[in-house]
Symmetry: C2
Subunit: 257 residues, 2 copies
DNA sequence: CGTTCAGTTGACCATGATCAAGAGTGGTGG
DNA sequence: CCACCACTCTTGATCATGGTCAACTGAACG
């Protein structure tokens, strides 16, 4: 299996063999394993190195003084945890492991070296940064405008497509290790309500969830339920699951003007 | 008055006289005026140039198919409207004028030139990009976790400090041309509820709003009401209004620990 | 001087929160 | 191997924040 970062960056641009070798080197340098539910780094700390998720899920989150927690993004294999450290001197949010996590720790110097010598990679990294900003925007829309059912459906669509883009789906299935509490913190709902809403999604045959495993039997239906439009992910290899193909299908069905 | 972009970037880094001259040149090149409520660019369009707000307010927003609208950020003088165009080929959101707007339109080539020749400016621009990403994160927290009153108080604090950092405040006052409908779309509330909540803020003497003018007589109190912590703005010149000074004041008061 | 748009108010409603308790599952150590 | 603990998921009853709908006021502007 090709490494997830390479795969992810190639979503944006073609890399040369040399680029790929360099990325593999970066990834192999220094890897660490983090137990589930441990923080990688906390709000207020000075970032010391750059983390690349190799295996498992993490989340970016902020907490309010009174304990309320908001997950602002999930991080999956191939995701770099913020280029912040090159510019901002303090973390404005925390990064926590959801599952057991394998991360590559890339130190500043090494990274600067790559940035200097491999312009393709640099551009691809900025692409990733801008895409993750676009994902932030979509999350604002999600918690600001969508109903509980739409929010959760939307989250499932997003994570499925993001996992797919790094080769971590298997037909209609993917791992989904976030708990209902995590989903609640990501969608601005309570875990009780998430529970009821997931049941509703199940009842409508939009998803099945068996422990850590999510199945989406009809992606088009789930996207419709979540008002999901994948454009914001800026994936190049848009595939059968996209909004476009839904339009196409609607046209073929003749059910819509 | 020094131009807002320079002032804003100097929030992050000291610029040389040459940098400043270059920025002034960029800004003066080609300016256009947009009437209120007109879109600068729409979701799905290919960005052709880079906009810099010189005067007035704009907003970044997304709409859902059924018309629901979410404002994901406001743009004020000194804000660059997304470096996206250099990397992403389609706008994933729209930018609309709130007031009459003066913007500088900077074309790709010219901008590339600056980036090549003025590394200080380039870094400062990426700083701005990362800060605006951090603001996105805070907005997710805002709509996801805070109550109506907290959300609006938080928005007022944020905009006041952002305006202050480009010299657009006047003592306790600043312009605030967003309507209650805009505030509603930015906070994920309805305009009816925004109206009632703003009245509540007024009743508690946390703000006064007389037409387009916002006054915050006690910034510390408003920050407390909105659970506002300015760290996420990554301003260097933190001033009397910051969270830190609140802690200091609490210590002086002797009311806490 | 009417038209438009922002702001305001009231009555009623619904989505999702809160509180509390119980069931299933997995891991750990005696 | 089993008992216990912790955590996740589930369910029920009740409540509250904020939404909906509708009408009215007042200022701005041509």
């Amino acid at each position: 299996m090709p490494n997830a970062l390479t795969r992810r960056l190639e979503e944006y641009t073609a890399l040369t063999e040399a680029d790929r070798r360099e990325l593999a080197k970066l990834t192999a340098q220094s890897t660490l394993t983090i137990p589930p539910r441990r923080d990688l780094i906390r709000e207020g700390e000075a970032p010391h190195s750059l983390y690349l998720i190799l295996d498992g899920w993490a989340c970016h989150y902020r907490t309010l003084e009174d304990g309320r927690r908001q997950i602002v993004d999930f991080a999956i294999p191939g995701d770099l945890c913020d280029l912040n450290l090159f510019i901002l001197d303090r973390m404005d949010h925390s990064i926590g492991a959801i599952t057991r996590l394998k991360v590559a720790e890339i130190d500043r110097e090494m990274f600067h070296d790559v940035v200097r010598k491999f312009p393709n990679i640099t551009t691809a990294l900025w692409w990733q940064e801008l895409v993750s900003k676009s994902i932030h925007r979509e999350w604002i829309v999600n918690v600001g405008q969508r109903t509980a059912l739409e929010r959760i459906a939307h989250l499932f669509c997003e994570m499925f497509l993001r996992l797919e883009s790094v080769g971590l789906t298997d037909g209609f299935c993917c791992d989904f290790p976030a708990t209902q509490v995590d989903i609640a913190d990501a969608t601005g709902l309570t875990s009780v309500h998430v529970n009821r809403t997931v049941q509703e999604l199940r009842r409508r045959d939009l998803v099945t969830m068996d422990r850590q495993r999510l199945m989406i039997p009809d992606m088009v239906a789930l996207q419709t339920a979540g008002l999901f439009n994948p454009e914001y992910l800026h994936h190049r290899r848009l595939n059968r699951h996209t909004h476009f193909s839904r339009d196409a299908q609607t046209r073929l069905d003749g059910t819509v003007g």
